[in-house]
């Protein structure tokens, strides 16, 4: 081979080189593996006795201990959600040879639904086979007895005591307190598995869900010595779980009860707020449902019935219901006219029964045929004169109109401590462009002035706005949590407050004029007589909106029954000068706000104000302090 080619490839040489290297590599590998083998023999032969002994001693398992869930009380210490002792069936998959067979046989003794089995199988996947998995919750005494007799036939199945959630007041608080339910796969994906290692339930709706972190507590654990079959022999160490915090809500359960009762089952919602601080004293959504069956898994048929019921009992109308506010908007619109300097309280407008946008032929009607004559702001509110607000809204223009209404929180969630609050609709150019991609027309401003058109409010939004108005323009974020109690015998601490936004009214005189109008509503106006026999002056406003557009078939089909034709509302606060309560009542079907909604509001006021409220307040404080938490733990 010439020298010049030396640096180039030389196949035979490379092959020989490779063989030598492969052999060297192989010898190194064998040498290393011999070292590894020696290492194994040191551990497995020379130190076998030592490790064997340690393996024997190595029988300590760590088991999670679920914390007791915090209790929920109303503002006076009335229990709304408690923990009660119950029994459930648990299966340890490791001890079961034939799981489907076992479940089938077990089902012959204790009823086990398909839902139970589906949930059981889902949970099984997230656990080790020696960990027991809950199968059937809340066994009845009869079921426990039946199982106990046949227990010998079911190795690996045990009856285990646990604390289950119970809602003693049932349907009354289903929408507010909500309920807990079995942890499902969606929950598992979200939560911290370590924290929930021994926990079977989690807050699904309402306060139970919003305050899950406070209510859940911190798990403890115990170290258990087990024998060769993993049967616990004794507890070596135990770190107790830390129970969740007890919550005191702002709700007064008596007021809640009265409010719900006054509805007499008619679909609708009511919200009662203390305008001085935003505490929600009562919130009712009718119809409601019993939350208790949801805790341990509601039967599919029952759930479907609730889900498909025409009056939607599962819907929390307070935060998710959408209503046309109608004339209840008029005090706000009137206030806007004064605040923006477009009207003085004494300015009058002539109501002829019909209002026209200059240059257009479409007529916007008053409620009274032929009109109500010349009215100022107070009369316009008291008699609910549309023309006054048509012309005012037109003067304002939609941009100033929606800017002003925004101050009262319309068109956005109020920020209450519940999950899933609706936004409603505050009519504006931007909203319409975003929703329909269309320009705004002046006629839409005119009807927005009387709370019609695109307007949608949730009862909570309206109540929040009325409360803001009642406190002379000072907004407070509505909330349900009043106090929090940590530990077994800690004192309830007031819940942290959200900083109140700035006052939305510039001139107190303007407020006085609107307040005067609202007082006249219940004295001489649309809801006259409502104040009779009440110790304080009430300020209120009726609202009646058509449920269906007059052009649709629904309207003609029910036109025989005027009672059903309207969505009716009433808003009120009292005492008018120094409000301690703000109320809104919304009924989905009724004749008029004055006829149907106002009497309900009056009953709510009766239930709260005349009993010395200051006294009640002090009582609450002492009751909260004294409420000794000795419920089931």
């Amino acid at each position: 081979m010439p020298r010049a080619f030396k640096p180039l490839k030389e196949a035979r040489h490379e092959a020989a080189l490779f063989r030598r290297r492969a052999l060297a590599g192989f010898l190194i590998i064998v040498a290393c593996l011999i070292v590894l083998g020696v290492r194994f023999s040191v551990l497995q032969v020379r130190q076998h006795d030592e490790f064997s002994a340690r393996s024997e001693a190595n029988r300590v398992l760590t088991r999670p201990l679920a914390p007791a869930r915090g209790l929920i009380y109303d503002r006076n210490g009335v229990l709304l959600a408690e923990n009660v002792a119950a029994f459930r069936l648990e299966v340890t998959p490791e001890h079961v040879r034939d799981m489907p067979g076992l479940l089938a046989r077990l089902g012959g003794i204790v009823p086990i639904s398909d839902d139970d089995i589906a949930r059981f199988n889902a949970l099984r996947k997230s656990k080790r086979s020696y960990q027991s998995v809950p199968l059937r919750m809340k066994l009845s005494e009869e079921e426990i007895a039946k199982f106990s007799i046949n227990r010998w036939a079911f190795p690996g199945v045990e009856v285990v005591p646990y604390l289950t959630r119970s809602y003693p007041l049932g349907a009354e608080f289903a929408h507010t307190v909500g309920y807990v339910g079995r942890i499902d796969e969606d929950d598992l994906a979200k939560l911290d598995r370590g924290d929930y290692a021994g926990t079977t339930h989690i807050g699904k709706t309402g306060v139970e869900r919003y305050y899950e972190d406070r209510l859940h507590g911190e798990p403890g654990y115990e170290q258990v010595e087990v024998n060769a079959d993993h049967r616990p022999l004794r507890v070596l160490d135990r770190v107790a779980p830390k129970p969740g915090q007890n919550l005191y809500l702002t709700i007064d359960s008596h007021l809640q009860e009265v409010t719900e009762a006054t509805f007499e089952g008619r679909a609708g919602a009511a919200v009662v707020i203390d305008p001085r601080n935003g505490e929600v004293l009562a919130m009712v959504s009718v119809p409601s449902f019993d939350p208790n069956p949801f805790v341990n898994g509601i039967a599919g048929v029952d759930y479907a019935a609730l889900l498909n019921a025409p009056d939607k009992p599962l819907l929390n109308r307070v935060i998710r219901g959408g209503y046309a506010p109608g004339s209840t908007m008029k005090p706000f619109v009137g206030l806007g006219g004064l605040e923006l300097g477009l009207r003085r309280p004494s300015d009058t407008v002539l109501s002829t029964g019909e209002f026209f946008i200059p240059g257009q032929s479409r007529a916007y009607r008053d409620d009274v045929r032929g009109g109500q004559g010349r009215v100022d702001l107070v009369q316009a509110i008291a008699k609910s004169v549309n023309t006054y607000f048509y012309s005012l809204a037109l003067d304002m223009g939609i941009d100033r109109f929606s800017d002003f209404m925004d101050r009262f929180g319309f068109g956005r969630p109020t920020g209450i401590d519940l999950v899933g609050e609706g936004k409603g609709v505050l009519p504006s150019r931007d909203w319409k462009r975003g929703r329909f991609n269309q320009a705004w027309y002046p006629g839409e401003t005119v009807i927005a002035g009387i709370g019609q058109g695109y307007w949608v409010v949730t009862p909570l939004q309206l109540a929040n706005a009325v409360a803001t108005l009642a406190d002379r323009g000072q907004p407070h974020t509505p909330h349900l949590l009043r106090a929090v109690q940590s530990g077994l015998d800690g004192r309830p601490e007031p819940a942290p407050r959200v900083a109140a936004p700035a006052n939305v009214i510039k001139r107190p005189d303007n407020w006085l004029a609107v307040q005067q109008g609202m007082i006249e509503v219940v004295k001489s106006g649309t809801a006259r007589g409502l104040n009779d026999g009440f110790p304080y002056a009430i300020a209120g406003k009726t609202g009646t909106a058509e449920r269906y557009s007059r052009t649709t078939e629904e309207w003609t089909s029910i036109s025989a029954s005027p009672i059903e034709r309207h969505q009716v509302l009433f808003e009120a606060f009292a005492p008018a000068d120094d409000a301690r309560i703000a109320v809104i009542v919304a009924l989905e079907a009724g004749r008029s706000g004055a006829h149907d909604a106002a009497p309900i509001a009056r009953k709510i006021l009766d239930a709260w104000l005349p009993g010395d409220q200051e006294q009640q307040g002090r009582d609450t404080r002492t009751k909260i302090a004294a409420a000794s938490p000795e419920p089931a733990r």
């Binding site: 490379e14 492969a22 590894l36 023999s41 190595n58």
Partner: protein
């Protein structure tokens, strides 16, 4: 007509039987190993048939892939090599940029399957090194060595950054073995090892805290019995209590009582050692030695440098798996996430290993064609 078809198919099947594209001794050893793996998994997973079946399906997938790769001539593989290498490095960069995984960014989500591009490099790395060295005069000098060093270091660093030290180690090792087998002079190897020893203290500073802890824990596992030391102590107890003959299949208590972490994946060897004892361990190691030896023999038979280096590097990389995993469970080496080949539960590693054996089968099957 039909007779002709039958005849043709007979001929085809017959030729497949007479000239199989697979090396039967190697295939037999691999099947035996997979059998041991499934059996151990059944015990370690606490008689969970689902896990065993899903692992078996991965084996089937891997075997199909192996058979497919075995039919690709090494020459074709050689032509593809730079592209495959570049592609896998690009995927690796993609993972670093937008990858998602639990704490460690090593997965690429392709909607249907999620896979780790770093697994690809276990194959494309030795391919690239073999391809490059194939075109250079051998034994390599410093220049060649420098280029190969770059080819190895860039993807290895990317994988280590993910952070997946175990895979980075395997990738780097497979590349390094290619260089070793190409006949790198011993004195140069000595210089490199010396330099490496000098770099270790520097590298220490770049390790993640948890990686440092693993090394520190190794030195004194009892000092941290509930944290990192737990793995090592429990594994040693499992291995040591197995004794000479073992506790018997599915009679290991350590794993069943959950004392042993990761006992179906990285620590499955501990379960095997506990249940089958030293005798079982030595037999298993002997099986690995046989496989490595057979692979190296296939490599030596190959008539072209590319095929030789590739086959040799893949065979020797197999040893790294066994050594690092065995060293880990006996407390000789730090806890690095390296599976026991074809025994540990986990799809990507099994499939990429079998793909590697597919390359070996191909080299074996085409040795004569290459020679001619």
């Amino acid at each position: 007509m039909i007779d002709e078809l039958i005849l043709e198919w007979r001929h085809r099947l017959g030729s497949m039987w007479r000239k199989p594209r697979v090396d039967l001794p190697l295939l037999g050893a691999l099947l035996l190993l997979m059998g041991v793996g499934l059996m151990t998994l059944y015990s370690a997973s606490d008689l969970d048939r689902g896990q065993v079946i899903s692992q078996a399906l991965r084996f089937v997938l891997g075997l199909v892939l192996m058979a497919a790769i075995a039919r690709i001539p090494p020459l074709t593989l050689r032509n593809w090599t730079p592209w495959l290498y570049a592609g896998s490095v690009v995927l690796l960069v993609v993972v670093v940029v937008l990858g998602e995984g639990r704490g460690a960014n090593r997965w690429l989500d392709l909607r249907i399957v999620r896979f780790q591009p770093s697994e690809l490099l276990k194959l494309t790395m030795p391919m690239m090194v073999a391809w490059y060295l194939n075109g250079r005069p051998l034994p390599p000098g410093w220049t060649t060595l420098g280029v190969v060093g770059g080819l190895i270091a860039i993807p290895a660093a990317l994988v280590a950054k993910q952070p997946d030290l175990g895979t980075a180690l395997l990738i780097a090792a497979s590349g390094a073995f290619g260089v070793f087998l190409s006949g790198l002079a011993w004195w140069r190897i000595g210089v490199l090892l010396g330099a490496f020893a000098g770099v270790v203290p520097v590298a220490w500073h770049f390790l993640h805290d948890y990686q440092r802890n693993r090394v520190l824990t190794l030195l004194d596992p009892e000092a941290d019995p509930l944290g990192n030391g737990w793995h090592i102590i429990q594994s040693k107890i499992a291995v040591g209590s197995g004794g000479l003959w073992g506790k018997g299949w599915h009679h290991g208590t350590q794993s069943r009582l959950e004392f042993l972490p990761e006992h179906t994946t990285d620590f499955i060897f501990s379960v095997f050692a506990e249940e089958w004892g030293l005798v079982g361990v030595l037999l298993l190691l002997a099986l690995y030695v046989f496989i490595i030896a057979r692979c190296l023999w296939i490599a030596a038979e190959a008539k072209d440098t590319y095929a030789r280096l590739l086959a040799g590097a893949i065979s020797m990389a197999l040893f790294v798996y066994v050594m690092v995993n065995g060293g880990m469970i006996t407390g000789m080496l730090p806890v690095v996430g390296v599976p026991l080949p074809l025994v540990s539960y986990g799809g990507t590693s099994a499939v990429s290993l079998l793909a590697g054996f597919g390359v070996l089968m191909s080299i074996h099957a085409h040795r004569k064609m290459v020679a001619s």
